[in-house]
């Protein structure tokens, strides 16, 4: 799960692997806006088959929080 999310972010945001940590913040560190978040969720649904409505990520600010949320939905 973790690698899928990181790879997806690397592709979407054209980032190096080293630039993405569990503490990375979507808005502050990657300058992502609401549409970038939607695109991320679309990509993640393709990669993992897990659908995450955009309303669910309002309180998710970091890569680590997103991974935890997706792992929770997977179970």
């Amino acid at each position: 799960m973790q690698e899928k999310i990181i790879t997806s972010l690397m592709n979407q945001l054209d980032l190096d692997r080293d630039a993405i940590t569990m503490e990375s913040r979507f808005v502050e560190d990657f300058s992502m806006d609401s549409l970038d978040m939607v695109e991320m969720l679309i990509n993640l649904e393709k990669e993992t088959g897990i659908k995450v409505p955009v309303e669910e990520v309002g309180d998710i600010h970091t890569v680590g929080e997103l991974i935890k949320h997706l792992e929770g939905k997977q179970q």
Partner: protein, 331 residues
């Protein structure tokens, strides 16, 4: 069934007034950086004296001039608009009158921002059904009249303009693989409500001035999905002669960038002019085709996919084997 046609002329017309993002920052709380980063938009043309009919006529005259076709040869006019000046007659009928065409089929289609794709396919179908040799397809929109100019999330997104093409029956079909689709918009993702009017039987109806309402995240999700499915289907239908260029509806640069990544194409394969026009709804594809030709990006021999999406929720696409030489090539 579509008549075998080629596009022999194209034209566009936009209002004179250009409103930059900095200009908008004087009206609502926004900035050039905020708008351009999120949408790719830098400026837009805004109607002051112009209207949808006038812009349409101007674009059609340019398209006819390029084609060398005489107005009296036009057998079909299909216009598309969601912001026409009159409930009736149709925009197409207004164009017919302005061009002094004595008799032809004239009608409007409404399919939101997908309107031009629907109109193009409708016109080529009518040419086959009615056995006509020449058609005009024109899209004209005055979106800024329907913006809520206190809502910074939507008013920055739209602009005004018109684009037109001339279709002529040809020996070989150059308009190929039409796709028209619609999915029920159960969540009212994109809505422009019309004013409600009272009659002696309804009592007084309070009908506030209505504006464009959009749910941005839902629109992006829909647009991203149909861009991918439509371009993929067009690619499959093209078989071993794939399209080499894409002219998408210009709604948001992020949607186009998403399609670039998803389709694993180069950004150079996509024509993007949203920076100068913002979202002109159904007019965006013909305006972009016109600019693509004028800039030299598009040329005879190109196989170009057009793809649109909009309220409804509609979507559509087609492939055009482009036959008009650009002027840069002629020099």
């Amino acid at each position: 069934m579509l008549a075998p046609v080629s596009i022999t002329g194209i034209g566009k017309c936009v209002p004179e007034k250009v409103v930059t993002n900095d200009d908008l920052a004087q009206i609502v709380e926004t900035s050039d950086e905020w708008i351009s980063k999120r949408t790719g938009i830098r400026s837009r043309h805004v109607a002051v004296e112009e209207n949808a009919t006038g812009l349409a006529i101007c674009a059609v005259k340019d398209a006819l001039a390029m084609s060398g076709e005489q107005p009296e040869n036009v057998g079909v006019i299909v216009a598309c608009t969601i912001t026409g000046d009159d409930l009736s007659p149709s925009l197409a009928s207004r164009v017919q009158r302005a061009l002094e065409i004595p008799v032809c089929a004239a009608m409007d289609v409404s399919a939101g921002c997908t309107g031009f794709v629907y109109a193009l396919v409708t016109a080529a179908s009518l040419m086959d059904t009615l056995n006509k040799d020449v058609a005009i397809v024109v899209a004209s929109e005055i979106m800024t009249k329907y913006c809520d100019w206190t809502d910074r999330a939507t008013c920055v997104l739209f602009g005004d303009g018109a684009g037109a093409v001339v279709l002529k029956r040809s020996e070989v079909a150059h308009l190929l693989h039409p796709i028209l689709s619609a999915t029920p918009d159960v969540d009212d993702v994109i809505v422009v409500k019309k004013e409600n009017r009272d009659t002696p039987f309804t009592g007084v109806i309070e009908s506030p001035r209505e504006s464009i309402r959009m749910k941005g995240a839902d629109v992006f999700t829909y647009a991203a999905a149909v861009m991918e499915t439509t371009l993929t289907e067009l690619r499959e239908r093209c078989g071993d002669q794939p399209y080499n260029k894409v002219v998408p509806h210009q709604a948001n640069e992020k949607i186009i960038d998403f399609a670039v990544r998803t389709m694993k194409l180069s950004r150079d394969n996509f024509f993007v002019d949203i920076a100068n026009y913002a979202n002109t709804s159904s007019a965006s594809i013909p305006i972009a085709l016109c600019d693509a030709l004028e800039s030299g990006w598009l040329n005879a021999g190109d196989r170009v996919a057009i793809v649109g999406f909009g309220s409804g929720l509609t979507s559509g696409g087609a492939v055009i084997d482009w036959t008009i030489q650009n002027k840069k090539e002629n020099k």
